[in-house]
């Protein structure tokens, strides 16, 4: 290579580095000026794409909307939004929020307040608990998407066979039914109940089901931390007893994640299960061992208490740094509307958060279990709210995980959890 060529090559290289870095900054600028379509991010697990393509088809054709599918767990999706929004990125323009995120997104000023766009009468069209979950410090920061809850699934064929007329109403009844069936079936692969004991967000919802069903709570009415109460200890000890003493759950439940439970139950290897409603379709699909033999109800409670389920679902929000907030709001209004929710119910069996969709004949015909599920949803409660929700949830889960794994006693773990929560902002 001659000196001249080398010199040329080098100047290109230097130019490349400078122009490259200039471009990086310039694109940041260009993004802020905001032309081009609104980017709509969505939870793409279990075939949600079709809903967004259908509901937003006109926008997509006009190139006013582009879709961004997010695979992975809710936690991984949160990582995606966090890295984008921490850098004040203008995309994605809309957010598909897990129900526990709004307080964090509002606190960090990532979600656009929507009070200017939504009036009170519109709010009344939705289930109260979802408007409540999306209201942070009196400000609405999102529009309701789909409803979900950690529900109680059971095998109707096995219950019938052993002469039980319905699912257990109390936890001691559950132990009794499970032990009877397990003894009769004598199948070492069969478990009484499967739930999520792995250290994932869903595990907290599992624990709350036991806690609330024993009259306990994380916070009392005045907002004091009471997670170390007698009711809490009793609830956690019972969860452990399910596999330690009553032998109706597998020891492996401490590493069981959401879909692990679904797989075990769908294989016909469990009588009862706590899980979210996404399982309904799969449990009744062609490759399910239990199709047609599954029903859903509220979970059992402890003697003398009423059951409550933990609410879930993915809601819609708008990126506060969006270049085109008007269009972004319009898009999530579309998704959250009667038509949008009906489409989601028809295509994927997503449970609506808009009351009137439950009255729609076509929807009910397609999803006959909605009527029952709506009653179960009515017992729903929200997980505690916090702008530091990730930290709060983790502080509790690390302790629960230690207790479930036998590292600590339930009492010790919950008192440590209460200590950890003491300094954190937390409200119901």
């Amino acid at each position: 290579m001659g000196t001249r060529t080398m010199w040329k090559a080098l100047s290109f290289l230097v130019l490349f580095v400078f122009v490259g870095s200039a471009l990086v900054f310039a694109t940041g600028q260009a993004e802020e000026e905001g032309e081009g379509p609104v980017q709509v991010a969505f939870d793409s697990r279990t075939d949600r794409e079709a809903i967004f393509e259908d509901v937003l088809s006109e926008y997509i054709e006009d190139e006013r909307v582009s879709l961004r599918a997010l695979p992975g767990t809710s936690g991984e999706q949160l990582d995606f939004y966090t890295t984008r929004f921490a850098a004040e990125a203008s995309t994605p323009d809309t957010i598909h929020m897990d129900i526990v995120w709004p307080a964090t997104f509002a606190g960090a000023e990532w979600a656009l307040p929507l009070d200017d766009y939504v009036d009170e009468s519109t709010k009344d069209e939705y289930l109260d608990s979802y408007i409540d979950a999306l209201t942070v410090d009196g400000e609405l920061v999102g529009l309701p998407g789909d409803a979900d809850g950690l529900m109680f699934w059971y095998r109707t064929d096995l219950l019938d066979e052993y002469g039980f007329d319905g699912p257990p109403e109390t936890w001691s009844e559950l132990v009794e039914q499970a032990q009877t069936i397990l003894e009769g079936e004598d199948d070492s692969n069969l478990q009484g109940i499967t739930f999520q004991g792995a250290n994932i967000e869903g595990m907290l919802a599992n624990y709350l089901t036991f806690l609330w069903g024993n009259g306990g709570s994380v916070l009392d009415d005045d907002g004091n931390v009471v997670i170390d109460s007698e009711e809490s200890v009793e609830a956690l000890e019972f969860m452990i007893d399910l596999y330690e003493e009553h032998d109706v759950a597998s020891d492996g439940v401490v590493t069981t994640e959401t879909d692990d439970s679904r797989v075990v139950f769908q294989d016909g290897r469990a009588i009862f299960m706590l899980n979210w409603t996404y399982v309904w379709g799969q449990l009744n699909s062609d490759d399910s061992e239990v199709a047609g033999n599954v029903d859903v109800s509220t979970p059992p409670a402890f003697e003398g208490h009423d059951p409550s389920i933990a609410l879930g679902g993915f809601q819609f929000g708008v990126n506060a740094n969006s270049n085109n907030p008007e269009l972004a709001v319009e898009v999530i209004q579309e998704l959250s509307s009667f038509e949008g929710q009906k489409e989601a119910a028809m295509v994927r069996g997503d449970m609506p958060t808009m009351k009137s969709v439950y009255e729609d004949e076509e929807v009910i015909e397609e999803n006959p279990f909605f009527e029952k599920v709506r009653e179960i949803l009515a017992t729903g409660k929200s997980r505690p709210k916090s702008p530091n929700y990730g930290e709060v949830s983790e502080a509790i889960r690390n302790q629960l995980s230690a207790a479930l794994g036998g590292e600590k006693s339930a009492e010790e773990a919950l008192s440590d959890a209460a200590d950890a929560l003491e300094d954190m902002t937390l409200y119901q």
Binding site: T3, V17, G107, S250, G252, L404
Partner: protein, 311 residues
């Protein structure tokens, strides 16, 4: 070139520019030019982030409370760090993991290197097999192990249960001691081959005459290994150990994919804790302080490495 440069210096500035535009460069100028792209790159990708991390570690930046704009807190984050039980736990995990995944891969790697160093039919298959785990992405291999070791559908438990060797599945990832053992095991499987590669190159540079000479003197195979192979391999072993240590200090993907740091925080090394503090707790200030501590740890290993190589 230097004579040309000497002449040019006497002329005016304009001529100088003309010369530069022509591409006639002195050696000095060429050096700067050659270094420029890498320098710019390093400034952008290393110096700026490092400076920013140091800046953040002395400020409070919690994204969940953006209203408080970056108050200066001095060394408060570090005080918090040294009083944080979870920080010490993450160091303990790092210590155990580090010791385990330096020692065992070395033993396994040495064994593999000795095997594939021998001449035998089909040696290339064995060599390919040795390299395979090294070529696999770490997170992928960890994920694979998490499936193999799973208690409800894992291959290991399935086999043990099927053979009737155990009556209940073993919770490899659900008990803290076993989870740590599983983590070290999976890492050893993954990194043993890297050790083997370095050690194999060391083995191949040992002159064959040494062994022939040994034979003449009547040494046994064991003696040859002890008095010829090991001393000759010493520098390769050191290099392998230090490389391995630096990577072990920074480990993130294997525990993240295999145990998620659980049960509880029993297998949560420093990097995983930093990730949680920054991305889950949104505490970039404290996260930066922790990250700086990790940089210091890595530097110690790196300095060790440089000293060994230069000696």
């Amino acid at each position: 070139m230097s004579t040309i440069a000497g002449e040019v210096q006497q002329r005016g500035r304009l001529d100088n520019l003309k010369r530069l535009a022509r591409g006639d460069l002195s050696e000095r100028e060429l050096i700067f030019l050659l270094l420029a792209p890498a320098t710019v790159f390093l400034l952008l990708m290393v110096v700026y982030p490092l400076g920013r991390t140091i800046f953040l570690s002395m400020h409070q930046l919690k994204l969940s409370a953006p209203q408080e704009t970056l108050p200066f807190v001095g060394l408060e984050q570090f005080a918090k760090m040294f009083a944080d039980a979870r920080f010490y736990n993450s160091l303990r995990v790092l210590g155990i993991y580090g010791a385990g995944t330096v020692i065992f891969p070395l033993i396994v790697g040495l064994f593999m290197a000795l095997v594939v160093h021998r001449v035998f039919p089909g040696r290339w298959i064995a060599r390919a097999a040795v390299i395979l785990p090294w070529a696999m992405p770490r997170s992928l291999s960890a994920l694979t192990w998490s499936w193999i070791l799973d208690s409800s559908y894992g291959l290991v438990n399935g086999t043990l249960l099927g053979l009737g060797l155990v009556s209940e599945p073993i919770l490899f990832l659900g008990q803290s001691d076993l989870a740590m053992v599983s983590l070290i095991f999976a890492s050893t499987w993954k990194t043993g081959s890297f050790m083997a590669l370095i050690l194999l190159s060391g083995l191949q540079s040992i002159p064959g005459q040494l062994y022939e000479q040994g034979k003449v003197d009547g040494t046994s195979k064991l003696q040859a290994f002890r008095y010829i192979t090991v001393p000759q391999l010493k520098s390769s072993i050191l290099v392998a150990l230090i490389f391995r240590t630096i990577v072990a200090v920074q480990v993130f993907d294997t525990p993240f994919a295999l145990t998620k740091g659980g049960p509880g925080t029993a297998t949560e090394p420093l990097s995983l804790y930093i990730y949680r503090v920054t991305l889950n707790h949104l505490d970039f200030g404290y996260g930066s302080a922790l990250a700086l501590f990790m940089i210091a740890l890595t530097l110690v290993a790196a300095v060790l490495y440089i000293r060994v190589l230069w000696d």
